[in-house]
């Protein structure tokens, strides 16, 4: 070391001399220079230094590789979760990717497309909702997340004005879909959210958005149809996301789009608010609203549950859209519950008519129920018609079986058309078509047969059209005439010749007196709707009366028998038969 320093010192002195000489401006030239030969120790030490440097580099590299491996592993597991979730979503939803430039957020441009392209082959009536395309992001934990603005989901509501929808069951079914909207606020619990939960919540959120897009489309179409068609659809009020329709006397419905967050709070207030906000299109609107106020309690029982109609509205629009998209096979149109094409009155018109029909048939049903409750031997059967504007019921009466075996009906065998089996069941069918009522009763006497005076039993079915007010009376009259016909047949079986009128069965006694069993119907009677009278007349031979002639009270006497059941009636008949037993044959 010291020698090296001395050598360096010598070289430095040479250099100093050189510099002094140059400063003195003497020209100096360097003859030659040779590298000092390296000592072996120096070679070794150089080698050692470079080896140490290389080892350092290797160590550095080793550390670098290991760090990269760890970081890559973390990234791989994180992205595995993301892509795993994305693949699970892709099984159900359309995932699209746009190659955007790598931004700082590194979202990689994935979007979920909720736009139903099969609907767009037809007219450009459907505007794509702003919700149709949803960006997929990473949330703070690196997992898949969807961010939606909080009030972007709407749902379609339908209801009747003036009726509060505070039924618990209806609310609970809506609450179930709202949990997923809370997703953005769950960032604090990211540790406990495992992958499954994440995917499921995203999935239900997507369902919510998809359904909300459909609801918006339905509302759009309802608006369009309401202003285009004019069949029974009357727009009585309009606000943002709200449409009010008047249909018929005193019925007002509304269709609205409500944001999911403030659904429950606003719903209670809405019906009252809007009664005052309605713009009257005709002068009767004020009267309509007043009527609703007083009848709101009655309405609740008569009006069908609004949820049914909400679902029905969505369904018919969905089927219409579905049928329209697959336009070619028209067999699907037939599959839609056999209804004719709805292009005429339009879907909304059809919907309103269905609603009106349902309200009307509820009233019919109430009347029928009252009738059936009033008579103990009647049963009410309802028939599903699978048609939204037709309803049908049957009033069913079973009469007690005859005590006599069938073979003793000697009198019946000479009438060619009569079957050997007696009727034990009588049906009266009531069909309501939109708002027209048709009553078909079997076993009522044929008018022609009556006039001919023969005892022919024709199995005729009488058809009547009637209105709501006279429905109970007509039904009761048909039932009473069926009872009278049964009694008549029983009398014939026993061998007594009896005369049958519409509601009256008469027997002739030996002295020419006529004893009649008469039915009286009264739907308002609280004790029973069909009551029976026994009328005794003298001297009127061969004449048939169609009403009880009260003016001639002197030659008649009437006895009120009461509200008899069929068994009691039958035994009454047998008693009467034994009374006039002399003129009959056994």
């Amino acid at each position: 070391m010291v020698e090296n320093l001395q050598l360096a010192h010598q070289e430095l002195s040479v250099i100093f001399d050189l510099i002094n000489t140059v400063e003195a401006n003497d020209s100096v030239t360097v003859a030659s220079m040779t590298n000092p030969k390296q000592l072996p120790k120096e070679i070794l030490s150089d080698l050692a230094v470079s080896t140490a440097t290389k080892l350092q580099c290797y160590r550095h590299l080793g550390k670098y590789f290991k760090q990269s491996a760890k970081a890559l592993e973390q990234q791989v597991t994180r992205e595995a979760k993301f892509y795993g979730a994305l693949i699970r979503l892709q099984q159900n939803w359309k995932v699209k990717r746009q190659r955007v430039a790598a931004t700082a957020s590194s979202s990689e441009g994935f979007t979920i497309d909720l736009f139903d392209s099969s609907l767009h082959s037809s007219a450009p009536v459907y505007r794509p909702s702003s919700l149709s395309s949803i960006c997929i992001d990473h949330n703070s934990a690196g997992m898949l997340a969807i961010n939606l603005p909080p009030n972007s989901c709407h749902s379609l509501h339908f209801g009747f004005l003036g009726v509060h929808s505070n039924d618990i069951t209806q609310k609970s079914s809506r609450n179930r879909t709202y949990n997923s909207v809370e997703l953005p606020s769950k960032e604090t619990e990211k540790e406990s959210l495992n992958e499954n939960d994440c995917v499921q919540e995203t999935h239900s959120l997507l369902r919510e958005v998809h359904r909300s897009i459909f609801d918006e489309q339905v509302f759009d179409m309802v608006n369009r149809e309401a202003f285009n068609s004019s069949l029974g659809v009357n727009v009585t009020g309009i606000r943002e996301n709200y449409l009010q329709l008047g249909m018929g006397p005193g019925n007002s419905v509304f269709v609205s789009l409500v944001s999911s967050k403030d659904d429950e709070r606003v719903e209670e207030e809405r019906p009252q608010n809007l009664k005052y906000a309605v713009f009257p299109l005709d002068s009767l609107d004020g009267v309509k609203i007043a009527e609703e106020n007083s009848e709101s309690f009655n309405k609740k029982s008569v009006l069908p549950n609004f949820i049914i109609y909400e679902i029905y509205l969505k369904q018919i629009f969905h089927e219409y859209v579905f049928v329209r998209a697959k336009d070619r096979p028209t067999s699907t149109a037939a599959r839609v519950s056999g209804q004719p094409t709805k292009d005429g009155p339009g879907l909304l018109g059809h919907f309103c008519m269905s609603l009106a029909h349902r309200i009307f048939s509820n009233k019919v049903l109430t009347k029928l129920e009252n009738v059936v409750c009033g008579v103990s031997y009647l049963h009410l059967i309802s028939h599903p018609t699978w048609h939204s504007r037709i309803s049908s019921w049957t009033i069913f009466m079973k009469v007690p079986r005859s005590i006599l075996p069938a073979s003793s009906q000697t009198q019946a065998s000479d009438i060619p058309k009569m079957k050997n089996i007696t009727k034990t069941e009588f049906r009266t069918k009531i069909v309501v078509n939109d708002d027209s009522i048709k009553v078909e009763a079997e076993g009522a006497p044929n008018v022609v047969g009556l006039l001919k005076g023969s005892s022919e039993n024709v199995y005729s079915t009488n058809k009547y059209d009637c209105d709501l007010a006279s429905l109970p009376v007509i039904v009761l009259q048909q039932v009473a005439s069926q009872v009278v016909r049964w009694l008549h047949e029983e009398a014939l079986k026993v061998g007594i010749k009896a005369n049958r009128d519409f509601l009256c069965l008469s027997f002739k006694l030996e002295q020419g007196e006529i004893v009649s069993l008469v039915a009286h119907v009264d739907p308002e009677d609280t004790e029973g709707c069909i009551s029976w009278w026994l009328v005794m007349e003298e001297g009127y031979v061969g004449e048939r009366k169609l009403h009880m002639d009260v003016a001639n009270g002197a030659s008649e006497c009437k006895k009120f028998l009461g509200y008899l059941t069929l068994d009691v009636l039958y035994s009454t008949l047998i008693d009467l038969v034994t009374l006039c037993g002399g003129s009959g044959t056994f």
Binding site: L61, L72, V76, G84, I87, S118, K314
Partner: protein, 129 residues
């Protein structure tokens, strides 16, 4: 490499990523070994390098297969979005029917509450013979 059968291509690709991580770790280990002040151990390095090459070969093999078998990304042909909506409608119908059935159950329970059925008569005593 493990001789397991991978079910989905996603799992295979995820395995490839894990293998890459292991490759990096191996490289780091080799470097550390080379930097060993007492000199590298030959067999250690040779086994690691052999593993390294094997893994790289496996990665190449798997990736080549996956790329060959990956189908092109077609736009969503059979969209089930409309049947999804009809499903949602059916769900809401079911909800409603369930609520009606619950109401019926409640009505039955109320009826039994207000019209309690009379207690059953005790069974007759067995006849004594």
């Amino acid at each position: 490499m493990e001789a397991q059968t991978q079910n989905t291509s996603l799992q295979r690709l995820q395995n490839v990523e894990k293998t890459i991580v292991r490759v990096l770790e191996l490289a780091g280990g080799v470097m550390d070994e080379l930097a060993n002040p007492t000199g590298p151990r030959k067999e250690f390095i040779s086994t690691h390098c052999r593993d390294f090459m094997q893994m790289i070969k496996d990665i190449q093999f798997t990736l080549r297969n996956e790329i060959k078998s990956a189908c092109e990304y077609r736009p969503f042909e059979k969209s089930d979005y409309s049947s999804r909506i009809s499903n949602e409608l059916c769900c809401s119908k079911l909800d409603y029917v369930l609520s009606q059935l619950d109401a019926m159950k409640l009505a039955i329970a109320n009826y039994h509450l207000h019209h309690p059925s009379p207690p059953l008569p005790p069974p007759p005593p067995p006849p004594t013979v």
